[in-house]
């Protein structure tokens, strides 16, 4: 076969074998890094470096939003909020990659002042330049057309929408309704309105929101995970030290991998399945390139 016929052949296959071509083009097998270790700042950096470094996601001058879970008035060891060291390492990586400004916020469930203080996140980011740790201000919510399977429109947070890069930094924890709460669920922190309402159809609803507001990078804090009585927890006996941080550009893959830490299957988690069906990422871990660092 000479080159010309090969190219012709290749062109023809594209008509019939979409899939084959897509797979061939996919050196794009989603990439995921799981870093392990006791130095939480270091493993966070390692995980990001393993999937290509922050420079792959953040360009010079970018406005970056880092969205941890700061939802609860709990201390870091109670494992209800993202670990402050993980958040700080990510923010520092963003700055190093040249980010113009990094904003950190969450729409909390408990009193925001107590959450920001007791999660340790305010203090962890205090002296960093070009970093804003800010409370949600209601006037910044904007009605956004979602046109999803179950949600037609919803109010999303303006500062998250206008950012150049949205980085999703959940903590891995148990959740009564969805089984686990990870990156797909963490997006609720930028939802306005009566967000409890989406609980009646939470999987597809969250997939819709994630379709409308994409996380460029997902870093899951599994340094310690909450295995029961989530998402608030409060009992240290429900906390398991895992010493892991997971990073991926594929939110479904990241969630799927973190799910296995709880001894659960990704296919049993409605949010993961719905997001996969919507084409937001890969839930079959066999098709994910997993780098353990």
């Amino acid at each position: 076969m000479n080159r010309r016929t090969f190219l012709k052949f290749l062109g023809m296959t594209s008509l019939f074998y979409h899939r084959m071509l897509r797979d061939a083009a996919a050196t794009e097998r989603p990439l995921l890094a799981a870093a392990e270790g006791k130095d939480y700042s270091a493993i966070t950096r390692n995980a990001i470096r393993a999937i290509g470094g922050m420079g792959k996601f953040v360009r010079k001058g970018d406005l970056v939003v880092v969205k941890p879970n700061i939802g609860w008035d709990r201390t870091p060891e109670q494992a209800a909020n993202t670990h402050p060291l993980v958040v700080r390492a990510i923010v520092e990586e963003c700055l190093r990659a040249g980010a113009g400004k990094v904003k950190v916020f969450d729409r909390t469930c408990n009193d925001e002042r107590r959450c920001y203080v007791n999660s340790g996140i305010s203090a962890a980011l205090k002296e960093l330049k070009n970093v804003e740790v800010k409370y949600i201000e209601n006037e910044r919510f904007r009605k956004v057309a979602i046109n999803g399977t179950v949600l037609k429109e919803w109010e999303l947070y303006g500062e998250a929408l206008t950012a150049n890069v949205f980085i999703n930094v959940p903590i891995a924890k148990h959740h009564g309704l969805t089984g686990v709460s990870l990156g797909i669920k963490n997006i609720m922190g930028v939802m306005g309105g009566n967000r409890g309402k989406i609980h009646r159809n939470i999987g597809p609803a969250l997939a819709d929101i994630n379709g409308a507001l994409k996380s460029r990078l997902v870093v899951i804090d599994a340094t310690r995970i909450l295995t029961g009585h989530g998402p608030q927890g409060g009992d240290l006996r429900d906390v398991r030290i895992v010493n892991k941080v997971i990073a991926s550009a594929d939110i479904v893959a990241a969630d799927a991998y973190a799910t296995t830490l709880f001894g659960l299957k990704p296919a049993d988690i409605s949010t993961t399945v719905a997001a996969y069906r919507k084409g937001l990422g890969e839930m079959d871990l066999g098709k994910v390139r997993i780098l353990k660092v």
């Binding site: 008035d73 469930c109 408990n110 009193d111 002042r113 107590r114 203080v117 007791n118 804003e132 800010k134 201000e137 209601n138 006037e139 910044r140 303006g158 500062e159 206008t162 959740h175 009564g176 309704l177 009566n194 967000r195 409890g196 309402k197 609980h199 009646r200 159809n201 939470i202 009585h229 989530g230 998402p231 608030q232 927890g233 409060g234 009992d235 006996r237 429900d238």
Partner: protein
């Protein structure tokens, strides 16, 4: 402008201190509030008298009030002329208000007819003193009306600015952040009785048009009480009457010279007369044994009448509707309603400091006799699990100051599901937001998974919540967060027994 005398400087400093402490009575990033406006109540002899009569006991929290009372015995009614922030406000306003003639109705024994029934009501177990206490009047007017008004106005301006500037507003954010963090109330809350509370203060100001310090000399129960104590003062003003040749004191004195003879109990020790006396006659002398020409107590019938009216006040205004009673949720740590009514000063501090604005002044829900006492309305705000601020600022310990681990176990009420509204029961859809938010480590709200036919007949798995009473402390976050529109699908109901949660259940043993 009057010349700046020592008394004047002291007045202004105490007014500033009052406002400063008022602003500090708010969560500002620390679990403990070290200084709060409660100091002004703990040093308040009227609060002390009402507390002692009602609770029939003493609390060390009110030790400063004992000291103030003791100093009043020595020095006279100096509190009113040197400290009282309401008095200072009146002085600041007084110059600008032209006086007509004094109101006759207030003269004579009016003030005793106010003070003694209030104290007598305390004796019969309902502490009403706070309703007319000047510091409480001022604190409530600020808490329920002026401070929210300030907060809301600036906040609305800030929001409006967003409408104009959009994200460019961020350049101003640091400045606004400072104002928000150090000056403003964190949330915009509107209170019932806001109008009443403001009106009360405005009426007191309005009374200035009849006479200087009209409130202080003719009405104020704290002033009246201090006046009674001040009669024993070791320092007496001489001469004790207007000098026939001058009579300037009649104009100078803000409170005590509405007759020819100095009204000892009304003299607030402002020292204006001695400082301005052209003949250097007027002075305050150490004269412990100087005869007081006037009878010490007003007529006896005031006592008998007051005792009776206090008793009637307490008995006649206690009606509560059962509906209101079922929702009469007191702040955490208040175990006994009767005790609470004896000790609560109704100063409004707990409501001011409440993190999530769960507490509101009772209008009629606690009976007319309970007006201005704090009540939790969970649909508007819940009791934050780790917060202990209301107990910290309560001047009398009516809300006990508990360590967090104890406060978490105190029962405010119990959550009760309304299956006609709760989604999994009423609409056959999943929800469980209440369970998600329940802060109890072992979850006082749990759920069972049930397979049921939904509206189209399809079998669906439903998570149906239920409440574990042994674990529920009634914090109300479930009712607050319930996504059902309008009335919540789960509500906190008052319980007769507010026994705290048992440690065993709480710490982990399964109920």
């Amino acid at each position: 402008m009057r010349k700046l005398t020592v008394a004047r400087v002291s007045q202004l400093l105490f007014l500033l201190l009052f406002l400063f402490l008022f602003v500090l009575t708010e969560y500002r990033g620390k679990d403990e509030i070290s200084f709060a406006v409660n100091s002004f109540f703990r040093g308040n002899p009227l609060v002390l008298a009402a507390y002692v009569l009602a609770a029939k006991s003493f609390t060390w929290l009110l030790l400063p009030a004992v000291l103030v009372l003791f100093s009043t015995l020595l020095l006279g009614r100096f509190f009113c002329g040197w400290i009282c922030p309401l008095g200072t406000l009146l002085d600041l306003a007084a110059k600008r208000i032209r006086k007509t003639a004094p109101v006759r109705y207030f003269k004579g024994n009016f003030k005793y007819w106010l003070l003694f029934p209030l104290l007598s009501a305390s004796l019969f177990n309902i502490n009403l003193a706070g309703i007319f206490d000047p510091i409480a009047v001022l604190t409530r007017a600020l808490t329920f009306f002026f401070y929210p008004l300030l907060g809301d106005t600036i906040r609305q301006g800030w929001v409006g600015l967003y409408g104009i500037m959009g994200d460019k507003r961020d350049v101003l954010a640091p400045a606004y952040g400072i104002v928000r963090d150090y000056l403003l109330p964190f949330r915009e809350t509107f209170y019932p009785l806001a109008f009443m509370s403001a009106l009360f203060l405005l009426v007191i100001l309005f009374l200035e048009r009849y006479e200087t310090r009209n409130w202080c000399r003719n009405i104020c129960p704290l002033g009246t009480l201090l006046g009674l104590a001040g009669r024993f003062s070791l320092f007496k003003r001489i001469p004790d009457r207007l000098c026939p040749d001058c009579q300037a004191c009649g104009q100078l004195c803000p409170t005590a010279f509405d007759r020819e003879i100095l009204q000892q109990q009304d003299c607030i020790r402002c020292m204006e007369c001695s400082l301005k006396c052209t003949f250097s006659r007027a002075a305050f002398r150490f004269a412990p044994l100087a005869a007081d020409r006037q009878p010490y107590f007003p007529e006896r019938r005031i006592f008998i009448g007051s005792l009776l009216s206090g008793f009637l006040l307490v008995r006649l205004f206690r009606f509560r509707t059962p509906d209101a009673q079922a929702r009469l949720l007191r702040p955490p740590g208040v175990r006994d309603e009767e005790e609470f009514l004896k000790t609560c000063v109704r100063c409004g501090e707990c409501m001011k400091v409440c993190l999530k604005n769960a507490l509101y002044p009772a209008v009629l829900n606690a009976g007319a006799a309970g007006v201005f006492t704090p009540v939790m309305i969970p649909r508007l705000g819940y009791c934050e699990y780790n917060c202990t601020l209301c107990g910290q600022v309560c001047p009398t310990g009516a809300i006990p100051n508990l360590p967090p681990q104890q406060k978490r176990m105190e029962v405010i009420g119990k959550a009760v599901l309304d299956k006609n509204r709760c989604l999994p029961f009423a609409k056959k859809t999943n929800c469980i937001v209440c369970e998600e938010h329940c802060p109890i480590p072992k979850k006082a709200i749990r759920f069972e998974e049930v397979m049921e036919a939904d509206m189209s007949g399809k079998q669906v798995s439903l998570k149906k919540p239920y409440v574990v009473d042994e674990l529920c402390n009634g914090c109300g976050i479930c009712e607050y967060i319930c996504p059902v529109d309008g009335k919540a699908g789960i509500e906190i109901t008052a319980t007769g027994e507010r026994t705290p949660l048992e440690n065993g259940y709480f710490q982990g043993a399964e109920p």
